[in-house]
Amino acid sequence: MPAFRTRLALLPFLLLPSGLRADAEIPAVGRPADLPFSEASGDFRVRAAAAPTTMEAETPFTLTLTVEAVAPVRQPPRRIDLRELPAFKDRFDFLEGGKDDDRRPSPQVWEFAYRLQPKRGDVKAVPGVPFVFFNPDIQYPRKGFQVAYTDAIPLTVAPHEAYVVPVPGPPFLFTLAVGDPILRRWAAWTPPGLLTAVLLLAAPLLCLAWFFGRRRLYPDAARVARQRRSLAARRALAALRGAKRLPPVQQAARSAAVVADYLRARFDAPAEEPTPVEAADCLSRAGRSPALAERAAGFFRACDAVRFAPDGPAVRADLTGEAAAFILAVEAETWPPSHS
């Protein structure tokens, strides 16, 4: 008789197209909003098992959720997503692959496998899994949603074995500047506008003041300087005066030596007596005219001709006079009358 009654109760259900049966039977109202619904319709018992139950943190284990129908099944359970449960999401990482191990040991039993791993060493248990199903035998459909919890499964999770790793880096990274220097406030450098303006104007103004002040204080400064520079010429002319009475060879040697000394004092000529070419070069380097340089070369050539002629001096030349004239010509070109 009960079996007949069950069959009668199932009759309208069996007459519906298969895709519509469950939707038509399971009401949308009354489902627990915070728990995943298994879509199962009937009456079920659930239990859970974990293997292994002793492990290190971040080591995977398998949680098997077994659902057993204890009454005719209107709609089979589907796999629920444990990630929707905060109690699981906070404690475990979910690995791929568990779904492949789902089994159906008998028509009334469903086994769902999950691959989990505890996130930390302080995870002590697998929380109870809430299995939500709809029981059509309950008279008020809105009250037909039932939640069956599995028992919590104690776990022994050891801390993850950790390797001590040093902080990498060269020695200078571990040094520190200490004290007040690190509190300083550097300002970015910008060109000082006022200082630049002062510098641009003050330097030439000061130089002009120096120039005109010196001219005012020492009006004869140029002449004094010229006289100072002419000291070498006066000494040379004085030395030539005594050489006029010497024999030609000695006179030539003396004149050449005096002019060489003069050139050395005025133009940094070589230490030893210059050759005609060296004398000309010396004057050219000093910026004197080519005629003056040629005149110096000619003078030294004439001196050499008198001093080193194999048969004695052929002509009697006034080499002291020529030397004096050359020195005066150099002075005249160095200090022209217009500059005085």
Partner: protein, 269 residues
């Protein structure tokens, strides 16, 4: 009393997201140094040392926010950031310090170390800083040195010219001309340096602060990537513009693109 307060503060607040404003700068510096030293003592265990380096970096950064600005502070901050695995912060700090003192060898060494840790997604020059071919022994000239040199040359040129007017010596005239030319050249370098600094102020340094950042053609995720190669933490660039949570940056090779603002550290006060 102050050391006791510091000790209590250090015990009660081991992780420093923000530093209380009531602490004096000297106290913040002392806390930073203590944290850094604790990190150095624990350097054999990375997991234990890194939080202390992170805390030291936070304290040094607080000093920076309060206005301290000098190469030593930036070197400390860069070292602490690098040891705390904060590569973008380290690169930015070393670059800030080198902007103040380009000849600081420790800052340059730190920057080289940080750049060596940047992971580039592709071979080639994309995202890499330009090669510095300058010999390490050659000092980098600073604007103020150029300015001082120009001033000295200018004054010397004026002096030599005046002296030439007095003596008419050609050597003095030649020296005056050389000094004027040198002053002009150095002034040109000062102008160039000031222009460069202004340009850097307009286009501040930016450092990529996340891995896998793609430069996009526009300021939004709807725009496609401009380059396929992603940028990782520590890549240096210049910020051109900012708009609606996005910044346009230019890499050293001239590549330009948009990146989310939160993925880029910008050298802003």
């Amino acid at each position: 009393m102050a050391p006791v307060a510091l000790l209590i503060f250090a015990v009660l607040a081991p992780s420093h997201e923000t530093v209380p404003s009531g602490l004096a700068n000297a106290d913040v510096a002392r806390l930073a140094e203590d944290e850094f030293r604790r990190g150095v003592e624990l350097r054999g265990d990375r997991d234990k040392a890194v939080p202390h380096f992170r805390a030291a970096a936070d304290y040094f950064d607080e000093l920076r926010r309060r206005g301290a600005r000098n190469p030593e502070l930036y070197r400390n901050l860069g070292n602490a950031c690098l040891l705390a695995d904060d590569l973008p912060c380290a690169v930015l700090s070393y670059r800030r310090g080198l902007a103040l003192d380009p000849n600081d060898a420790d800052l340059q060494a730190g920057l080289n170390e940080a750049r060596g840790r940047v992971v580039y997604a592709a071979p080639g020059g994309f995202g890499r800083p330009p090669d510095d071919r300058r010999p390490p022994w050659l000092p980098r000239m600073r604007s103020e040195w150029f300015f001082a040199g120009a001033a000295v040359c200018y004054v010397a040129a004026c002096f030599l010219l005046t002296r030439w007017l007095m003596t008419r010596s050609r050597r003095l005239l030649a020296s005056a001309v050389v000094a004027f030319v040198a002053a002009a050249g150095l002034t040109a370098l000062v102008v160039q340096a000031v222009r460069s600094e202004r340009e850097e102020r307009d286009r501040p340094l930016a450092v990529v602060a996340a891995d896998g950042v793609l430069l996009r053609k526009g300021d939004g995720l709807a725009y496609p990537p401009r380059y396929e190669t992603p940028l990782n933490q520590g890549v240096e660039a210049r910020r051109l513009f900012g708009r609606d949570g996005w910044v346009q940056i230019e890499l050293s090779g001239g590549e330009v693109g948009w990146a989310p603002r939160e993925d880029v550290l910008v050298d802003e006060p």
